[in-house]
């Protein structure tokens, strides 16, 4: 009896973690990002204070909160830039994010856009996308890599999505601020991630660009899981399905935009100071 049970659990894809790690992210329980009791301190300052958060697969989640609420630190923890002092962070059911390095997390399927657009300024727009493209990113395969027509078409497709097709041969450093933001999003898409973490993706964009970004993110939701940190409330109201409010390193409230806007605590935190 016990032997059968053991074999069953071995065959069960959920129970056999090793096999799953090789195959990718296990989202059998709908959730794709699990943060549980995450704490981070910098020189006594508690940036995150037992933060717990679950993001479902395909969700478009907006994270808001006043300065110093821990939004960027939360992204640092998820992407491996900062190691938490306590708590656990899982990608799917099986991938422990606190044990992986930044490139490993990126390879596993979490893409990150920085607050300040970070692209390879000396490379052309085309080359930026080429470098980001999902492929074997170890040294020797990179040295031998050649672009096939399928890959060029993928780059072309992304260039179209981010509306930078005419700029493909220009150095990325020559782009406008808004275009750089879009290029960085395009680079994330080339990585074929499951989760996109976007830190203030419309900062410094014109109204028109902001509007087009909103359309883009709405079209990406469902296909990808998006976590958007944003200050621009108008923008959040336009795209938000579910909003999480962070305050002093922990979740203050969570729900639809309307419920958040009516939440007494939230109003106090945002307007009370």
């Amino acid at each position: 009896m016990s032997g059968t049970a053991a074999r069953e659990s071995w065959d069960d894809p959920v129970a056999s973690g090793a096999r799953l790690l090789a195959e990718g992210v296990d989202t059998t329980h709908r959730g794709i990002l699990y943060l549980d009791g995450i704490s981070v301190s910098f020189d006594g300052f508690r940036a995150l204070n037992a933060l717990s958060l679950v993001v479902d697969e395909g969700e478009l989640r907006c994270v808001i909160g006043p300065n110093g609420a821990g939004k960027t630190t939360m992204m640092d923890v998820i992407t491996g830039k900062t190691r938490p002092d306590g708590g656990s962070a899982f990608f799917g059911q099986t991938i422990d994010l606190t044990r992986l390095s930044e490139p490993e997390i990126a390879g596993a399927g979490i893409g990150r856009k920085f607050q300040k657009p970070t692209v390879f300024e000396q490379h052309t727009v085309f080359e930026n996308l080429e470098l980001a493209m999902k492929t074997d990113k170890r040294v020797v395969p990179t040295l031998r890599a050649r672009l096939g027509s399928a890959e060029r078409d993928r780059i072309a497709h992304t260039l179209e999505t981010i509306k930078l097709l005419p700029e493909s041969g220009r150095a990325a450093g020559m782009l406008s601020h808004g275009q750089k933001q879009w290029l960085e999003i395009g680079m994330l898409l080339m990585q074929e991630p499951q989760v996109l973490l976007l830190d203030e993706p419309v900062a410094g964009m014109s109204d028109d660009e902001t509007l087009r970004s909103a359309e883009l993110f709405l079209s990406l939701a469902g296909k990808y899981t998006l976590v958007v940190v944003e200050h621009d409330m108008e923008f959040v109201a336009r795209i938000a399905q579910k909003v999480t409010v962070l305050h002093e390193g922990a979740v203050l409230a969570e729900g639809t935009m309307e419920s958040i806007q009516q939440n007494e605590e939230v109003i106090e935190v945002f307007l009370g100071r």
């Binding site: 692209v119 390879f120 000396q122 085309f126 060029r152 072309a156 260039l159």
Partner: protein
Amino acid sequence: MMAGAAFAPPGEYGGPRFVRLLSGGGWSAWAAAALVLFVVFPVLHLAVPEDSALHLSDFWVTLIGKVMCYAIVALAMDLIWGYTGILSLGHGLFFALGGYAMGMYLMRSIGHDGVYHSDLPDFMVFLDWKKYPWYWSFTEHFWYAALLVVLVPGLLAFAFGYFAFRSRIKGVYFSIITQALTYAAMLLFFRNDTGFGGNNGFTDFKRILGFPITAPTTRMALFVITAAALLGFLLLGRWIVKSKLGRVLTAIRDAETRVMFSGYNPLYFKLFIWTLSAVICGIAGALYVPQVGIINPSEMSPANSIEIAIWTAVGGRGTLIGPVLGAAAVNFGKSWFTKAFPEYWLFALGALFILVTLFLPRGLAGLRLFRRKSA
């Protein structure tokens, strides 16, 4: 062609990869250099009688050979500094280690023709040593010495690089540590009991692979091999920087965090180019020693390594050909200057560095003469 081909920068992708390493003009210049170094100079040195005005003297053969070794070093420096943004101020160490490895073989090839007619090199007899230390084992074999030329700088660079890059040591801190490394090695090699001839180093070589080392044909053979190495490394460098790996290296230079979050581990990319750069320096050192006839710890002095950085900056970082020209210009200049105004060379070098930084940030390669038409 496919839809994607329309916006791939022309000439950058597709087509026979080897042919596209250099532009049309680039290949012409490369072929011209090969013709001069492989045919014209050997003929002028060996076939033209010594009293003819066209004869290329020993002095020039040695000087050009030496400068080509320096050019190889500058090329190696450009890969790590110009393209990857990591300034090494210790590349002289790798050069010297390659030189010492070759020097060990050359010392043993002296045989009994030293001053003391002993089995051992003169400096060991002088120290009253009775046998070779263990690390001199097998160095009488050329192939083994050649292996050491590659392995010693390579392994040292690999080990040092692994820990430095893993600890994410960057920028000026990395430069200072490399400077300290070469200085420490210099102090070690200055000691007589290190077993490498102390401050005199190795000299008085007699032969290489059985050929008398100062004979014109031997000299010319070394010259041609050095030229082949230089032209070969130039193509190797182009192949690397034009590959996707080359684009990752420049990306590391410009935005390392983005590289990491794109899924590349910068550690291994840095380690690859750093170790390769050190190995190339080692080979340059091994070619240098038989031509110049001496290797001593002063090659490891911090000033030497700084000079390598100056050649590279003067030539123009991130261009490969620039540093080659820079190494040539500075060293031919030095050769003339140290004869005309021996006391003032270091001042001139410093002034040159400042002037280039201020007025020619892209170095000699940034001059219109050398610049390719930009698209």
